[in-house]
């Protein structure tokens, strides 16, 4: 099998220390949490860090016995008060970025209040990789491309591409001024549809950002984070009145990255939509939030859903660099938006 290159593995005791080490080796270090994407990419020499800094254990959050908690500044913590009754979370939820995808997918509070996230996390790759991979890692997932996600041998034979060698063309579209690698995280559109923010800590302190603002339309510099910043928490707003879902297109029912993904969330009040968000993944270099305002004030009727499905179709810009084809994936954007929204109707 392919083997990992030699590297130095450090497991710092604190986030501050982790940031310090990262800043000391700006060009040659990387953070790692679950390692389900970092290590395979190191084996294929897509990443060649000299120092790998383990942060997964540092961002699992402060709550004993759980990686998810209601917003703690206003609610008693789970550990103190015992399990809270399930139901809408009027104050929201925050998730330590080191929570595994299995933990997120299976957590009763996520299933209850943030169904799209539970579904999306449960559809990532395989059970084994979900047990290792973290939600923070998925949020920061490297963009993918079938010219780039190949071994060093393969890329040598090809002559490399822009993503690893700045002076080489983009193989997907040789005239493209930017890298066209694809945003491929499942949980991100779900989180965007749910209105998530993330807390990050970096060399210049802590800040909170809307997740939707975290991504750039650029396969290389796809994250709008500062060098050295660590995602520590995902913060979800109150779930009352919201219902949500996520639909994923892939070749197989396990293991595969999305080739199209649509998350939809609507807030309903007595059968009428009061707020709505739709977001897509794997249909461009960044996850895109789609304008779903046409749904507001309606009862999720066909016409409004059709308008949003059209908008989703328009927002989808797949290129020929994943499995499947452009037309199939672009079509899936519309069909899945339509199906996702219909599934949120009252029966």
């Amino acid at each position: 099998m392919l083997r990992l290159p030699r590297f130095r593995f450090v497991s710092p005791p604190s986030i501050e220390e982790a940031i310090h080490i990262r800043t000391e080796h700006p060009a040659t270090s990387m953070y790692v949490a679950g390692g389900t994407d970092v290590y395979p990419k190191m084996k294929r020499r897509q990443f060649q860090p000299e120092v790998v800094i383990a942060i997964g254990g540092l961002v699992r959050d402060d709550f004993r016995g759980g990686t998810l908690a209601p917003l703690a500044d206003t609610l008693p913590s789970v550990a103190e008060e015992g399990p809270l009754p399930l139901g809408p979370l009027p104050l929201g939820l925050r998730i330590g970025a080191g929570a595994t995808l299995t933990e997120v997918a299976e957590h009763p509070r996520v299933r209850e209040g943030y169904r799209a996230l539970s579904i999306a996390a449960g559809l990532v790759s395989t059970p084994q990789l979900r047990n290792m991979g973290t939600i923070g890692g998925n949020v920061c997932l490297d963009t993918r491309c079938n010219w780039y996600d190949q071994s060093l041998f393969w890329r040598t034979a090809e002559g490399y591409c822009m993503k690893t060698h700045g002076d080489v063309v983009c193989r997907v579209a040789t005239s493209s001024p930017r890298c066209l690698a694809v945003a491929s995280a499942d949980t991100v559109p779900a989180l965007i549809a749910l209105g998530a923010q993330i807390n990050v800590v970096g060399p210049n302190g802590a800040r909170t950002i809307d997740l939707a603002e975290c991504y750039r339309e650029d396969g290389i510099n796809y994250l709008a984070l500062e060098p050295g910043e660590i995602v520590t928490e995902i913060v979800l707003p109150p779930s009352d009145g919201w219902r949500s879902t996520y639909l994923k297109q892939r070749d197989r029912n396990s293991f595969d990255f999305p080739i199209a993904g649509v998350a939809a969330a609507v807030r309903m009040d007595r059968g009428v939509v009061t707020d709505a968000r739709v977001a897509i993944t794997a249909l461009g270099s960044r996850p895109v939030r789609v304008d779903a305002s046409a749904l507001v004030g309606t009862k999720l009727d066909d016409e409004a859903i059709g308008a949003v499905a059209d908008a989703t179709h328009k927002a989808a810009r797949p290129m020929d660099n994943t499995s499947g084809t452009i037309s199939q994936r672009k079509r899936a954007a519309r069909v899945f938006a339509d199906r996702a929204l219909r599934s949120l109707r009252d029966d």
């Binding site: 099998m1 079938n146 071994s151 393969w154 060698h165 002076d167 297109q249 197989r252 029912n253 079509r331």
Partner: protein
Amino acid sequence: MSELSILGRRLPKVNAWAHLTGSARYADDIRLPRMLYGRLLRSTRPHALIKRIDISRALAYPGVVAVVTGADMPEKMGIMPSTQDETALAVDKVRYVGEPVAGVAALDEDAAYEALSLIDVEYEDLEPIFTIEEALDRDDVKIHDTSKRANVFKEVHLSFGDVEGGFAKADHVREDWFFFEGNTHAPIESHSAVASYDADGKLTLWTSTQVPHYLHREMEKVLGLPRTRIRVIATPNGGAFGGKSDPFGHEFAAALLSMRTKRPVKITLDREEVFYAHRGRHPVKMRIKTGVKKDGEITAVEFQSYLDGGAYASYGIATTYYTGALLTVTYRVPAYKFDGVRVYTNKPPCGPKRGHGTTQPRYAFECQLDKIAMDLGLDPIEYRLRILQPANSRTVNELRVTSMGLGECLRALRDRTSWERKRSERTKGKGIGVAGSAYISGAGLPIYWNDMPHSGAEIRIDRGGGVTVMCGTSEIGQGSDNLLAAIAAEALGVYPEDVHVVSGDTSLTPVDLGSYSSRVTMMAGNATKNAGLKLREQLVTVAAEKLGIPADRVNLAYRKVYDLKDPERSMSFVEAANLAEAKYGTLVGAGSYRPPAGIGGNYKGAGVGPTPAYSYQAAVAEVTVDLETGQLTVDKITTAHDCGRALNPVNVEGQVEGSAYMGYGEIVVEEQIFRGGLHKKPSLLDYKLPTSLDTPKLETILIESVDSEGPYGAKEAGEGPLNPVIPAIANAVYDAIGVRFDETPITAEKILDALGKRDNRGITKDRIGPTGLGDGKADPKRAMRRLEASTEARERKKTQV
């Protein structure tokens, strides 16, 4: 013959626990003292001359012990003696990306890996050929100098019966083109070889191979070491499916590196390298023309196949013939013309994959028969039942058919699947389809011409009643060790767990040609049975004397030797064995098997197709098509398989289900495809092998026709059941959406295209597939330009560093 005591029972495999717990010792599990780790440098060019190889920097790298290149082993080799066009490592020229060029042995894997990048190879690029059409047309580019016409590897032309007259008599003639995309075996165990050249000048090679005997011959030829000093041991294969039945570069490289260093050397391929080793399913374009009477009776068939062979021969001659040979054994074909051509292209060599060469034409023929049934307004099952080739007959191409259970298979399927009801329910997007097929139980001829047995077995009985079977077969997970144990146990009246099987060892076991062409049950089974019956006779003789009864009343079963009339009169198997050893000396029985003469014709090319007995099978597939996304879901596959006799029904069902799953993958998702000369998806993430969550519900019906030639009536079960699944799914998709898929795989994109939902123009199609051969002139220089762009990019990169 008395009642069977072991065969026919649902017993666990004798090696089940070792395989289930992972304690079976595969080649890569072997670690020998002072062992070195080897890796191969592979070509980054699809077609290029090697101008120079400089290994000095690699040799100087810390930890590297030896480096070998093609020049060290220039002898031509290959599985088929008549078409040896390969060398262990490339000499002077490379012909596909991934072809082995040099081998490094080092103290550890990391050093070997790093050293590869220090081997300097200077290439001079040649224009590559990637398609069948280009290969047929381009006389100016030669992948091999041996090709007389363009890049043709082999052409075959056969004609039987009055073809012209047949078509003249026909009331209805159909002509269709098909394309079957290439795919690969993807065994879970990647190829691995450990070579150890000892101080006495003897070489032992442990390797995951299906063909230890053929490899033994090639080792002698390439290494220049007499066969008496080479021992090849086939380790348990973690799946093979035909992909481990060629001699491979890494096996020779490990051997030569061991000879050079006097240390054991292991080379295990990584997953990507397995995709380059390939020898998988050929992409084939096919034209098939069939004439029928009004009632559907076939009057003539004309079949043409164009095989994309990749860069080397492999089994290509056999594959080419197989595309034409077996079309005649399922349904009555009174006149038949077959033209086949296999071409070289600059891609990894294609070879035998489960169903070898018969899968593609079977798909084409069964899809066309479905169309004919529709044209004539006949039910597809009823139609096939009408035109069956009879049992104990000869086909137009002179193949001998013995038992023939296809009719029973089809009838069983009709009942079990509620065929008529489901067929009459018309729900758009839901469909059900059927197809039949046949396969050989072992090739009628060996790969090199000889009059010796195809399989030999030796059985020994020890003084504790233990039985050892020695046979040159290779356990590839199909259950061959289990089968030999069960047959020996049946012959001698003991239990399979009393039998120790030693297989696939050229020093210890008599020659068996290998675990390919579904030959083990038929040939090694018969050899083992014969060996066992010889010993049985000795045991019967001594027991009859001791018990004072005539020999024909002695039976052996359940570790007892007893009087059939008075079972109380008995002795234990051990007692009988000890008596026999006292009388005859050491108890060793040898048996062998060679297919009978006269099972095929005498014309040139008649060597491919004959077999002691054909297995027959049919499958019904039920599918759902998502009309909006184009997603095809196969809900259920029911396979009926005529295996002659199920010597172990669990084992047979496992083979049938495995075949159905593999066939499903081939038509729904899998494809070995290239972008330029580069494999597009050389990983298990990107090459979409179905997962357990994708596998349809599988049901198996076993049909037992009890064949006269098979051991205890058995025929093959490992390959044939793959074939009907593929056309059954294509026919079910037609039933679901009214679109013919005359090419594989059936992707969402193609379904959307047919439904007019691929773009805004809304043009629907009733068929997806080729309409003929392309002209081969579609921008022939494109690949070269692409290559140059890459090279330039690389050069730019170099100058900047």
